[in-house]
Symmetry: C2
Subunit: 254 residues, 2 copies
DNA sequence: ATAATTTGATCGATAATCGAACTTATGTTT
DNA sequence: AAACATAAGTTCGATTATCGATCAAATTAT
């Protein structure tokens, strides 16, 4: 179970506690103690102690026996973001290219078998921002950013991701066949970008390029928009070049 | 030590683990195990197990014995943000008022004895964004947002915050006297906004209004800029009105 | 008002955690 | 290059924090 990790080196209690914290996800934004116990599979008394610990430390607040996350959790995220110079350097760079292109640009990194948004520069005034925030998760197989993250991982990692990541068919066009995906990943690797149309949502296309430092993958930059907008070759190339320039500027940090 | 909390209801191991996670702050973005042990005051072997647990769960990554946070921590932040509709509703509202005013608007909430950034809409093109990101912490006593958060807390909480929050003198103008602050808080409460000039940084002023649901304080909205820009009364009133309108629009969510 | 259900408190057995001491690895100095 | 100094990994018995079955209290439903 613990692969290369020694069982003695893992603190069960701590792991369970984090499991409780992670339980506040999806639709379960506020939960009672029994809810949490059930969702995590922990004994009710155990869950209770871990929940009270989180409350004591300020990560959870309780009203009418219903617990929910407090903004304190953002503090931890802030440490990560500041540590990687996201606010100070990456976001401003994103923003300047975003204005140049007139499109929202997102920066995401690999987290387990998902992509996770690290920074986002919204599109021009008037456009509807799709509600992407820091910490938003995207599937790897059906998005431009995801496909780039897989394509530019090491061969070993790529295979692991192909095996482990879920391949939900979000639309009729979603590629879920492993061989189809392998081909597309190879294509992305050769082209230096990924263009994924209608696979996550009908009528929506995403374009992404890798952010590399040397041969090491750091993350991916992507833009999203209505599919027709990506059908003009000149416009597409212009976007790719701008994204690559942006990626290079970002690679210095992060 | 554990105030109203029963000692038996706090999981020491879990608390220690979170302490390790929190240790990755400020200048200590990457640390070795002995570093972490020293900073947290934990036994080295204990710190090691907690660190390995965090690594096993994907919250930390290690290269050359130096550990640092992974983007996974953003996932937890994302759950909070999605749970409060920040990305979907709050940020777009912020953005529309931001464009109307031509200034960056920030939304922050109370976290312990600090304010913490929950959402931010950057200012117009060209302006230098000050590197404020989600999770960024601000002192309560020397900023507009902080002062609003204290002023519109319950009397009991207000007094607690006055007692507990540190009062660093960031500039010559920083109010650190309790009575001065009490007076200013009263003023903010009556006026319905706080204007704090040169107390956090010379030449910089911040203006903030509360975000309330009924009589309950949810957070605060603020704008920051060069002090002279806030000296024109008409401009000031216009900003206050816009911020209040924005606050009301946001109060429905969060 | 009573029953049913949910939530909170108790406490001994158990097993996970702790940490001192030791071994191994790294990298720094002479 | 050898010796030293420092840092990291491992081991294992003592300790004590954690676990969870059981009971008590509170809340809600009938």
């Amino acid at each position: 179970m613990f692969e290369k990790y020694n069982e003695k080196d893992i603190s069960m209690t701590f792991a369970k506690g984090l499991e409780v914290l992670e339980a506040f996800s999806g639709t379960d934004r506020s939960m009672t103690i029994p809810n949490i116990a059930e969702k995590t599979g922990l004994n009710r008394t155990v869950a209770r102690r871990l929940v009270l610990t989180l409350q004591y430390l300020g990560y959870l607040e309780c009203s009418n026996r219903v617990y929910k996350l407090t903004p304190k959790i953002l503090g931890l995220a802030g440490e990560f973001l500041q540590g990687r110079d996201i606010g100070k350097h990456v976001t401003p760079i994103l923003r300047s290219y975003s204005l140049k292109l007139g499109e929202g640009i997102s920066f995401a990194m690999l987290d387990g078998t998902e992509a996770i948004y690290v920074a986002h520069s919204p599109s021009d005034p008037g456009m509807i921002t799709q509600g992407f925030t820091v910490g938003y998760r995207l599937p790897l197989h059906a998005t431009g950013i995801g496909r780039v993250l897989v394509a530019f991982s090491t061969d070993e990692m790529q295979e692991q991701l192909l095996q482990d990541a879920p391949r939900t068919a979000y639309t009729e066009d979603t590629k879920i066949d492993l061989e189809d995906l392998r081909l597309d990943l190879k294509k992305a690797r050769i082209n230096g970008y990924a263009l994924v149309a209608n696979e996550f949502e009908q009528g929506v296309t995403s374009l992404a390029v890798p952010v590399m430092r040397g041969s090491a993958l750091i993350g991916a930059l992507g833009i999203v928009g209505p599919t027709p907008r990506f059908e003009d070759a000149n416009g597409l190339f212009e976007r790719i070049l701008a994204l690559r320039e942006c990626a290079e500027a970002i690679a210095v940090f992060a």
